[in-house]
Symmetry: C2
Subunit: 229 residues, 2 copies
DNA sequence: TGTAAAAAATGATCATTATCAATATTTTAG
DNA sequence: CTAAAATATTGATAATGATCATTTTTTACA
């Protein structure tokens, strides 16, 4: 259970901030951030923003997981990314001055801070470290997505699932992976039924363990092998 | 046939530059650019850079098409993007201070200018317009790749081919699309044989016309319909 | 805490697309 | 201009993965 009134989260002491893109912010800029950010508790399955709407600022996840996804023409979700504590979410659309091209929804209860555009963008001009960090981050994500596309095009569903489970393992750290079969299928890019069958295979092969819906990877070496990497 | 000694290409009068990210460069910065850039003629199938190598600068395509691709674990290429005259290529890896994650190879003869890192990066600090342009461009491409991933996951090969042909149509402007079946298959993310069969279908349906290997889209409205968008 | 709704799991079937093999056409280089 | 190499095309077959229908389990909440 998370703190439901997270207003006391402080930027100056926030450990998340010290490890993310905002770590370059110093002195009075931190104070300004602290005074102007808001922080809210989100239940599971709440939207942060929706495809087509216009960005008002950037979200900084303190606790919890958020899925970033796009709806295909049939309305089916494709999950592009799963963001976790420490990640900044939704700042890309701010630069294009365009509507969001993806949506963001919590996968579990979250504490998430919000920094308005007007408070965030000026820091780009005054803070070369932040600027460079963002350029670096955008470039890194671009490279990740080239990988994603290549995997999608060239790997079997079994291989993609294996690789996705390794990614999810990193996102969920030591905790078991706790995500609905449908979301997982929409991340891997397959049908829910196919995903469930493959999970069963992995279980029978001793690579994973399933408790109710939570998945633990038992043999990540074998998983990497199965992923074809 | 292209000019094989393109040293006379001038940044100050370059129409390509005036329409791309470098349009914000003014006055003596243009002169500096002009003095420090180099410009070369490339034959078909020449590499600009290879996955794993380290970037020394950025390429500015004056004439010709360049494929940006990644090799999957089997060595098979996945084309991520096809760059054309006016496009800047290879600047992402410069920000990550990391090796290239993709390769770039000419699809036809090209004239391409090269700006060294040392001449390019400092402009980021002095030129907010360039900086914002690049943030915008990176964000836009990130959105494009989310689309790419979603199409890859949710659309049939037939739909993806239709969509790819529309993209290629824009890239090739009025000229017929001139790209090998293998490259096209590696862009769509399918087997060459499947691609050829589908092209045949499109031809029989009157949506495209094929001359030797060059493809002209006859009915782009129908093509859009077939693409499922 | 019981019940309805949602999510997960299983089974059967079908369609799409990959793969392998062979041939035809086009391009390249001597 | 011609032979060799590369590319494009066609055919046959197999495998992967989607879809639809149904049952079981889990979750939410009155």
């Amino acid at each position: 259970m998370l703190e439901k009134d997270p207003r006391n989260i402080s930027c100056s002491t926030c450990l998340r901030r010290k490890e993310n893109l905002l770590s370059g912010i110093m002195g009075e800029e931190v104070e300004h951030l602290e005074d102007h950010k808001t922080c809210n508790y989100y239940k599971k399955n709440q939207y942060l923003f929706v495809e087509g709407s216009f960005p008002r600022g950037v979200f900084c996840i303190n606790e919890g997981k958020v899925k970033i996804f796009k709806r295909g023409d049939g309305g089916k979700e494709q999950i592009i990314q799963i963001a976790k504590g420490g990640d900044l979410v939704g700042f890309r659309a701010m630069f294009t001055e365009d509507a969001y091209k993806v949506s963001a929804e919590t996968l579990e209860e979250c504490n998430i801070c919000f920094i308005r555009k007007e408070d965030f963008l000026p820091m780009l001009d005054t803070n070369p470290m932040l600027r460079n960090g963002i350029l670096k981050e955008l470039s890194r994500e671009l490279a990740d997505r080239a990988d994603f596309i290549t995997n999608m095009a060239q790997k079997s569903v079994r291989q993609r699932l294996a690789f996705s489970l390794l990614l999810l393992m990193e996102i969920y750290k030591d905790e078991p992976i706790n995500i609905s079969r449908e979301d997982m299928a929409n991340f891997v890019g397959t049908a829910t039924e196919t995903l469930i069958r493959l999970l069963k295979d992995f279980k029978e092969e001793g690579i994973i363990e399933i408790n109710i819906r939570k998945i633990s990877v038992l043999d990540s070496k074998k998983m990497l092998y199965v992923s074809g990497h």
